[in-house]
């Protein structure tokens, strides 16, 4: 048969083949639904079950009770919820102010080297939080931290300048991630705004400042509200920041409370952990609904029709001030912590920076440490496997929810997005029980599979999002053409869509890889001895007081981050070139 021959439905064979394909397609979809349910609904179900029971499903004396929720809402523990909301709120407000300012500088002023600044400002987002948390623990220590030592020697004061072990420290550490995250959204929307909206205001007699206040920022309100909500939710989930800076100072938040209830208490208190997890997820959902209700459909169409260059404001001499401000952020969020780790890796003892203590001993120790290399290997395996599987599944989900009219697509989409509302630590607890009480002979708990499945769940929303945007842009004709010519559902998917959407696939893949590499909160609950991943191994070393070796491992991780980020920027640049 030539390629142009249609699969004629008049031929008996053709009709049979069509029905046959119809069925295989539903088998694939059925498998997909089952898998998604297993990695999302099942752990969620276990969480709900756990929060209403005093014991595990297999324990005979387990009874239904509301003790978990009673404990969450007891006077002493309400403080946990309040702290969580307070920290998330304060950091979101400050981050939004700074991120909006940075985005405005990069998108709308003639500040020098804006392209470079953009790359630098977004870089901290890609550095695993555990690294910067460790670095700041060293940097901002009230007694021994170099910042405070320098402060004391400069001012002669006996008081420290900063103490990272405080609520402020938690907030500051979160901000280093929230600012680049918000910046990414805001800079794009500053750029796409039709400049004539602002010019019209100038023509109406408004000064630059008045225009910025009355028009530009007002137009940005919907976007800002959206990023604020996202950042708030991320703040409620954040694990590393409160673990490193809150717990030592007695600042209790939900994520660390769950961790402590399961890992640190003598007998794990599952009921309390699951109940507070459910409560915090409920709060997040409320927040999202509130944001939807307030912003609603107010997504202003401010994108200009004509591909016009956005108006860039000439700042005169001030442009060096804005330039310095951007660099300052990069300095504080990347140079300082990475520099600390770098220096720390070459000294015998951190804090004693004398040339006679310079050594490569830690590098030697790390390279000779088998456990360490095993963890690196595990992270690589899980990163490659997790990112690939997530992107494949995410492509299917995105395809089904965007390109088909099938009724079940809402369920699939919902399940794929569900982990987005489940903080890593919560997902970890859910999986812990889900795997432990898995019926049948399959053992997942205690193997790498446990981590792999958790990572797939965590990355799924990301993967679906990356592929959805790509599929929306692709023309329908292409794929219909292929299907008319007799390609099966799976063949069409893989050949046409992945082939054409590969840049999105690649970028999504890299993002997933980043997520896996930095993931700590779920891993720390799901790893088992012999199956450590890098982040867990580092946490263990850190807790054993081997900060110098952690620094060495950090350097390795940062090299990876820079390499992957470079590839990502390259691919994105090529994609924009392709679509223009």
């Amino acid at each position: 048969m030539s390629a142009t021959t249609d699969t004629s439905s008049e031929m008996p064979g053709g009709r049979f083949a069509a029905r046959h394909r119809f069925q295989t397609r539903y088998i694939y979809i059925g498998l997909l639904i089952a898998f998604l349910a297993f990695i999302t609904l099942f752990p969620l179900g276990m969480l709900v079950y756990g929060s209403f029971h005093t014991g595990s499903p297999s324990s005979p004396e387990s009874v239904v009770s509301l003790d978990g929720y009673r404990a969450v809402f007891s006077a002493g523990n309400l403080e946990i919820l309040w702290n969580t909301l307070y920290i998330a709120g304060v950091k979101s407000v400050f981050s939004l102010l700074i991120a909006a300012f940075l985005a405005w500088i990069v998108a709308r002023t003639d500040t020098p080297m804006r392209g470079l600044l953009e790359v630098l400002i977004t870089l901290p987002f890609f550095i695993p939080p555990i690294l910067t948390a460790m670095a700041w623990s060293l940097l901002g220590n009230a007694q021994t931290g170099p910042i405070n030592m320098l402060w004391r020697s400069l001012t002669g004061s006996s008081e420290p300048l900063i103490d990272v072990y405080s609520t402020g420290g938690v907030i500051w550490h979160m901000m280093q991630y929230a600012i680049p995250f918000m910046f990414l959204f805001l800079v794009e929307s500053f750029r796409r705004m039709d400049p004539s909206l602002e010019e019209a205001s100038r023509m109406c007699g408004a000064s630059r400042m008045r225009t910025l206040r009355g028009i530009t920022l007002r137009l940005m309100i919907p976007v800002m509200a959206t990023v604020f909500t996202l950042s708030f939710i991320r703040g409620m989930e954040s694990f590393e920041s409160p673990l490193f800076f809150g717990t030592p100072a007695g600042v209790r938040v939900v994520a660390t409370e769950i961790y402590n209830a399961i890992n640190q208490d003598f007998t794990p208190n599952y009921q309390f952990a699951t109940a507070i997890a459910i409560v915090v997820m409920g709060l997040m959902l409320l927040l999202l609904l509130a944001q939807r209700a307030i912003i609603g459909g107010r997504n202003y169409q401010t994108v200009s029709g004509k591909g016009y260059r956005p108006g860039v404001m000439a700042l005169g001499r001030w442009r060096w001030a804005t330039f310095a401000f951007c660099l300052l952020f990069f300095f504080l969020s990347v140079v300082l912590p990475v520099g600390q780790l770098f220096i720390g890796s070459f000294y015998k003892y951190i804090g004693f920076y004398d040339t006679k203590f310079l050594t490569l001993e830690h590098y030697r120790n790390v390279f000779e440490n088998r456990a360490m290399w095993d963890s690196v290997l595990n992270t690589m395996i899980l990163g490659l496997g997790g990112a690939t599987l997530t992107m494949l599944l995410g492509s299917m989900v995105a395809y089904i929810s965007i390109r088909t009219r099938w009724h079940g697509r809402r369920l699939i989409d919902f399940m794929a997005w569900l982990p987005w509302l489940m903080p890593g630590i919560v997902l970890g607890v859910g999986f812990l029980w889900a795997f432990a009480y898995l019926p049948g002979p399959i053992t997942i708990y205690g193997t790498l599979w446990a981590l792999l499945l958790a990572y797939i769940a965590i990355c799924m929303p990301l993967g679906v999002n990356a592929m959805s945007t790509a599929f929306v842009q692709l023309s329908v004709d292409l794929e219909e053409c292929s299907r008319v010519h007799g390609a099966s559902f799976l063949q069409t998917m893989s050949r046409i869509l992945i082939a054409l959407a590969w840049p999105s696939f690649a970028i999504g893949w890299l993002l997933c890889f980043f997520v896996v590499m930095r993931e700590l909160s779920a891993s720390v609950l799901l790893y088992s001895v012999g199956n450590e991943v890098m982040s867990v191994e580092m946490l263990k070393l850190w807790e054993n007081g081997r900060a110098e070796e952690v620094c060495v491992l950090s350097m390795f991780m940062i090299l990876l981050v820079v390499a992957f980020r470079g590839i990502q920027i390259f691919v994105t640049a090529r994609r924009t070139k392709l679509t223009q």
Partner: protein
């Protein structure tokens, strides 16, 4: 209302000169259109008037104030110039209602609330949008947004109104209607208006004066009729349609009371009279422009004041409103747009002529 004087206005983008030493004098209350092909510098010129682009050379005076003078480093920013502007994308602020959009320039000027209400109502009445004052701006159609943009630009009684292709986002029918309405409005208010377009018929229909630009320079600045019938150069002539150009020899030049000349010309298989802005001298050659739509088909033996040819029909394309006829006169071919009523066939012997006012000698530059 104010007049506008532009002297030696230039704008460089790097080494590229987008606008090149422009001189233009716009009298108070006139409707002037900047017309020209894409990229010729119309928008740049308008934005320099507005103060949205800084001129690299030259001086702009509006009324009795100099708003920009590059040699003195003087530059008044847009908000200090008191000019109304209508943008191609309308630039209606989506976070405001129609009323708030129009009230904005007044509240910037700290006009009392009650006065704002009156003036906005009056401005919206002018553009027939009074009933939609409380609509959120995103719910408006293109034509309605256009009206709001005009109301917003007029409400604070600016000295000059600037418009950059305001009709180009509308469909063809609405474009004609809005154009006519706007012209009536402008004449009623008597506001000095500078209008940018690349649509020649729009420019002709709306303006008192058309300024034809190319590569950052002015080719011609005159009333539409003159621009069309008496172009200064061959380039201007070809910008409006595809005229016939015929090389002829001058036999005699007679000055006319209007200040131009009647030329007796001959050659290319005919003789007759044409008009000219200059006297090329006896025996000199001129290029005579004849627009296809200005020919008439004569009955044999009929005389004209202008020029006439005998020829054979070479091809006929019937288009409905007109028919395109190519006539072979032996020495050359003439392109003619004839009315639909005359029946013509290939090979017919015909007699075609052009009135004196339809034959115009152009300079080659």
């Amino acid at each position: 209302m104010a007049n506008v004087v532009i002297e030696n206005l230039s704008r460089d983008f790097g080494s590229f000169r987008a606008v090149d030493s422009l001189n233009l004098n716009i009298e108070s209350g006139r409707f002037v259109t900047l017309l020209g092909p894409s990229g010729c510098g119309k928008t740049t010129t308008l934005r320099m008037l507005a103060g949205l682009v800084k001129n690299t050379e030259g001086r702009i005076t509006i009324g009795d104030t100099v708003v920009s003078d590059a040699s003195r480093g003087l530059f008044v920013p847009p908000e200090g110039r008191n000019l109304g502007m209508v943008f191609q994308s309308y630039a209606i602020w989506p976070h405001m209602t129609v009323f708030e959009n129009v009230a904005y320039p007044l509240s910037i000027r700290r006009v009392p609330k009650a006065t704002i209400r009156e003036k906005v109502a009056a401005a919206l009445e002018i553009v027939e949008m009074g009933h939609l004052a409380n609509r959120p701006a995103p719910d408006l159609s293109g034509g309605q947004q256009q009206r709001v943009a005009i109301a917003r630009a007029l409400v604070f009684e600016p000295r000059v109104l600037l418009l950059d292709e305001p009709l180009s986002n509308l469909d063809a029918r609405l474009r004609l209607q809005m154009g006519d309405e706007f012209r009536v409005l402008q004449q009623r208010l008597g506001i000095t208006t500078v209008y940018v377009t690349h649509d020649q018929s729009e420019a002709m229909a709306l303006s008192d004066d058309v300024v034809l630009m190319n590569s950052g320079r002015i080719l011609q600045n005159s009333a539409p009729r003159e621009m069309y019938l008496q172009p200064k150069s061959r380039d201007v002539a070809t910008f409006f349609g595809a005229p016939n150009f015929i090389e002829l020899t001058v036999q005699k030049a007679t000055p006319r009371p209007e200040g131009d000349f009647t030329l007796d010309v001959a050659g290319a298989g005919g003789r007759g009279h044409c008009l000219s802005a200059f006297d090329p001298g006896e025996g000199g050659t001129v290029t005579v422009m004849l627009r296809p739509e200005n020919f008439e088909i004569l009955v044999p033996g009929e005389e004209t004041q202008g020029m006439a040819w005998e020829g054979v029909v070479k091809s006929v394309t019937f288009r409905g409103q007109t028919q395109t006829v190519v006539v072979d006169t032996g020495a050359m071919e003439l392109n003619i747009e004839a009315g639909p009523l005359v029946e013509l066939n290939v090979g017919d012997q015909i007699h075609v002529g052009a009135a004196l006012s339809a034959a115009w000698a152009v300079r080659d530059a």
